[in-house]
Symmetry: C2
Subunit: 299 residues, 2 copies
């Protein structure tokens, strides 16, 4: 496994490995902010399966954090990340500094329109998705991947990036991968380390409320979008430390609104039940994508 | 010469020609809006010189025109364009329809910040450069060129695209090419066909005023930026049909302001003298890039 920190060196290394293994060899790319967990490991395994050369990037991207967010204290552990990468058979790790990625303040922005980026996480994190699409676009230009792998925990991010790739005719194929959870159901996130023990216990209401929604859908043919949303909210509120940021049910991946009085059985398309809940200053997200009564893991 | 109208076919054709001629062969790309003239021909010749496979695109891009601009009446002549392309040894012409480029309304925008895009042509054409950077970015993803060729008549466009390429780490090298002029000095433009005979005659004040500026610089060591600008304005105003949109002298390619009282001999960097002048509803642009007393054709 090769670790490179400079853009030019990364390009050379990829080119070298491509020439060595045949120019028709496919590049699989997993962009991350590091502090890797089993969710990231599942992306790397999928990349290993589909691609010939697996590139992992680790870069805590300042331009996707708001001024009052956790950029400075975002958890970092280079050594552990490299061990996990090695274990998962990564070929090349790209770990650039902020100066390498943004030698001058960046003047170019790639943005996806408000109908995809202004609600859900975009509402409480203004500018966040512009930072994501800009850095992902830059990373795609540097790595030039055939496939890029993203976790569905950030389902809105997947929808936004798919839109960007389609609109700008990028050659990469986006591969969305299922959410990975702890044994007790908590979706894996680098931010879980922020949780105090009691917060960690109560954080189970996120996954539980999605389970509840699935049960309600399975047993009640006439339930409306509004009733479903209300039940999810009620369950989350049963945790005294939980402060709801949003609980929304939208068409997926369009992220367009569905009228609350619509019976679920009338909805033809995929929907997402998406949650963001704060425990103290830690904001957790979770979601499920459904098509009628069926859970969809691929989008 | 192959003519293709679909993105997928273009990709296949480029790939085919690359495999035939060796994968290390360089792709040169000339993006245009068609109605080709000798200015475009000079770009194609430069591409032929530097690259192995020359791709020309012809696409009148609706998203870079304002609502009251000349998108509908922009001149088109497919047959003549293809003859010129053939003559210049183009390998592949890409002529997509609007539906092929934008099957749905595009939700993704690539934009360069206001310090490069809000003055000069950006001031009278709001949103214009967003349309340019978005379509150029999309075309770059489709063609994947090693070199792309742009005329310096649109000097601000060159500066904006260079910024985009650098910020987003696109692999392409931008090759700016000198302005091509009629015998009498008028800079070539597809829009010159709009000019009535008397407007065409008076349109010479653009290039003449730039010649005048060069003479003033050569003979007057103490001339200030403000005096130079005033002389250029005065000369253009000698044409009764000319209506000045802007006459600006800026640092190039940063496009930052220079205080009018600054003597030219104090300016260390490249500067641009940029003009936009309307004759009736036809807006013409012209410019010269200088470094001290020297005319710079490469940036």
């Amino acid at each position: 496994m090769i670790v490179v920190r400079e853009i030019a060196k990364l390009r050379n290394e990829i080119r070298k490995q491509q020439i060595a293994s045949g120019l028709d060899k496919k590049i699989g790319f997993v962009p991350t902010m590091g502090f890797l967990h089993e969710g990231h490991a599942s992306l790397l395994r999928k990349a290993r399966e589909l691609a010939d050369i697996v590139v992992l990037s680790i870069f805590v991207n300042p331009i996707q954090f708001g001024p009052n967010e956790d950029y400075e204290r975002y958890p970092r552990d280079e050594e552990r990340d490299l061990a996990l990468a090695e274990r998962e058979g990564v070929d090349i790790v790209f770990m650039p500094s902020v100066e390498e990625m943004y030698p001058q303040p960046i003047k170019t922005k790639v943005s996806v329109s408000a109908d995809l980026t202004s609600q859900l996480c975009g509402a409480s994190r203004p500018g966040h998705f512009d930072g994501v699409t800009t850095v992902v676009s830059k990373l795609f230009h540097i790595v030039d991947p055939d496939y890029a792998f993203f976790g569905l925990k950030d389902a809105q991010q997947v929808a936004v990036i798919q839109q960007m790739v389609q609109d700008l005719s990028m050659k990469v194929t986006i591969v969305p991968c299922p959410i990975v959870r702890e044994q007790d159901g908590l979706a894996l996130s680098s931010r879980n380390v922020y949780l105090e023990p009691e917060q960690r216990k109560q954080a189970l209401v996120l996954s539980q409320s999605l389970q509840l929604a699935k049960q309600l859908i399975a047993t009640n043919d006439n339930i409306t979008i509004g009733e479903l949303q209300e039940q999810v909210v009620r369950h989350i509120e049963s945790a005294p430390l939980a402060v709801i940021d949003y609980v929304q049910i939208l068409n997926f991946p369009e992220l367009s609104l569905i009228h609350p009085s619509t019976p679920l059985s009338f909805v033809q398309n995929q929907i997402i039940i998406a949650l963001a809940v704060k425990f103290g200053s830690t904001r957790l997200i979770d979601n499920v994508v459904l098509h009628g009564k069926d859970v969809v893991s691929h989008v």
